[in-house]
């Protein structure tokens, strides 16, 4: 079957698809979150050295991964928007920023409440923590820059440049635990070695990560719909979203 993918690069045909996908991903996210929380809080055993404080890992790590990954996706859409001057890709980048900022903030917050019982401090100017804080500021910078520019198309280009320049920070976060020997420990799960934790813990973490993915996709698609309505006002197709009044 041949699908014309270019069709979905225009807001008019993407709008209903985004709505359907957002709804589907929200349901899947809820299912994953339910299963993941069950494993995280009831199935996974208490850690031998950290006690039950380690259970923060099940929300901390997915949030931190999403914060980094959403930034890369945002930068990717930004590059696309700059290269091809496409409205929808810029809108996708715009839709991702608030959720990315939220994930970065949650990664820092949950990390603080995990760091206190295990390291003895809520915050340290550790390489990974500091670079994650910079990630949060980059997200907020992109959001603030857009708010400061009246013309949406100019805002698209300015935000795209900022997002692309800031992307250099993501590998810095990722490799910070190897490049600098500061407080934050190395990764517990890697692609090359066996996980350094119990199998139920790994499974719980992966399910929670899947939930975070689906949640982020769902809210981003729902937000891009709102952005389309905000920015395409005046386009005649949008009027089909609202029922014709009895007057006309």
């Amino acid at each position: 079957m041949l699908i014309n993918w270019y069709r979905f690069s225009s807001p008019v045909s993407f709008y209903p698809l985004a709505g359907t996908l957002a709804y589907a991903f929200a349901i899947v996210a809820a299912l994953f979150a339910g299963a993941g929380l069950f494993v995280a809080l009831f199935v996974a055993p208490t850690d031998a050295t950290q006690g039950d404080s380690y259970r923060i890992i099940f929300i901390h790590v997915p949030a931190a991964w999403m914060a980094m990954f959403i930034y890369l996706v945002m930068a990717g859409w930004s590059a696309f928007a700059l290269a091809f001057n496409t409205r929808l890709s810029a809108m996708m980048a715009q839709a991702l920023a608030p959720t990315g900022a939220l994930m970065a903030a949650l990664a820092l917050w949950t990390g603080a409440f995990w760091g206190r019982p295990t390291w003895g401090t809520y915050w340290a100017w550790d390489a990974r923590m500091t670079s994650t804080l910079i990630l949060l500021f980059l997200y907020l910078g992109v959001i603030a820059l857009r708010a400061a520019i009246e013309d949406p198309r100019r805002a698209d280009r300015a935000c795209a440049v900022l997002a692309l320049v800031g992307a250099v920070n993501v590998p810095i976060i990722y490799f910070s635990v190897q490049w600098w020997n500061t407080l934050h420990q190395g990764s517990s799960i890697s692609f090359t070695a066996a996980p350094k934790m119990a199998m139920t813990m790994v499974i719980g973490l992966l399910i929670m990560t899947a939930a975070a993915w689906c949640y982020s996709i769902a809210v981003s698609l729902a937000r891009v719909q709102a952005i389309i309505v905000e920015r395409e006002r005046g386009a005649s197709w949008l009027e089909s979203l609202i029922q014709p009044s009895g007057v006309s």
Partner: protein, 63 residues
């Protein structure tokens, strides 16, 4: 049950972390719905003559 909420003495840390995540997600979803309603209301204002109050078609996933 109280043993579960005690989290082996780490209740403050665990529930502050989980609670913040739950609260943040709820706030984001509520804010997103408000943004959507606002956008659609402005669209209605720009399309319909003042006085006429057409309703939104309830499409799937668009609540």
């Amino acid at each position: 049950m109280s043993e579960f909420f005690a989290m082996g003495g780490y209740a403050w840390y665990v529930w502050m972390a989980y609670g913040a995540v739950a609260a943040a997600l709820v706030v984001e979803v509520i804010a997103l719905r408000a943004r959507r309603r606002r956008a659609l209301a402005q669209l209605r204002m720009s399309v319909a003559p003042p006085g006429a109050r057409p309703s939104i078609i309830g499409a799937r996933g668009h609540r």
